[in-house]
């Protein structure tokens, strides 16, 4: 079961869904539009070792835009803090963005129930694409869960910037 846009807005008023800041004009038929924050994160090594923490740098999108080159991969995040203790959020591209050959997530679109932060976008360009801060880039849908809920308390809690992979922590267990 997927929530309609009207139901998303209603559940934001009921505090069952967090979308902050919330702007009525960003409600679509059955999603909420997410905008791109100015911070971007880029890994600096040629080879990524999943067992290690990999170095990265932050960039800020300038007023005249940031060119993401064909084949380039970078992390961004939404301006909006999103999440819910009652519904499961799923991240999608805006179709207008997908039509430019830009991925906003690479394989991982499911957000854990209970995770409430600025969502990290995994931006991958199949051709040269210029990005602007605060532009609408993605959308989030909310799904009804079935079963008893255990809220997220994992390793990405507390994210307010694009957050690099912490997969190396899986090897520490």
């Amino acid at each position: 079961m997927i929530l309609t846009g009207m139901k998303i807005a209603e559940e934001v008023s009921n505090n069952k869904i967090t979308i902050d800041p919330f702007n009525k004009e960003q409600v679509t038929t059955n999603t909420y539009d997410l905008t791109l924050n100015e911070s971007l994160l880029e890994y600096t090594e040629d080879i990524i070792d999943t067992k290690k923490e990999n170095p990265y740098v932050y960039h800020k999108i300038p007023e005249n835009g940031f060119m993401l080159k064909k084949g380039q991969f970078i992390l961004g995040c939404s301006n909006e803090i999103i999440g819910s203790d009652f519904y499961e959020p799923l991240i999608h591209a805006k179709s207008g963005i997908a039509r430019l050959g830009l991925f906003v997530h690479v394989t991982a679109d499911l957000i854990d129930i209970g995770f409430k932060e600025r969502t990290t976008f995994q931006l991958y360009a199949t051709q040269n694409v210029k990005l602007y801060k605060n532009q609408k880039i993605g959308q989030v849908s909310f799904w009804q869960p079935q079963g008893e809920i255990n809220l997220y308390a994992g390793k990405y809690m507390g994210a307010d910037l694009p957050t690099a992979s912490k997969v190396h922590k899986d090897f520490e267990k």
């Binding site: 079961m1 080879i47 991982a108 997220y152 912490k166």
Partner: protein, 110 residues
Amino acid sequence: MILTGREIMNEVTEGNITISPFISEHVNPNSYNYTLDKWLKILKIDSRGKQVVENVEIPESGYILKKDQLYLGNTTEIIGSDVYSMRLIGRSSIGRYANFSRPRSCWFLS
């Protein structure tokens, strides 16, 4: 409707979902973490233009995936259900390294 991690666990116990081996630490709030088995298949075109498949065993020291190359791998776990449709998703930690765990065919219908 998406099952919560608890409900996935209940349905494994009930026999409505198969996850084998099943490790309770792999249960998330609303998914189950699968792991990578040791074999990779690399699809290549040989000098005569014929498609060939190379099998690689991932060594203890790890294996480097090359940019723009498609690899097939499989889960260690046997996963399935006669009752629920499954959706295969990569882990966000892996997506954050631009590794597509499933470029196509993400839906498995029971």
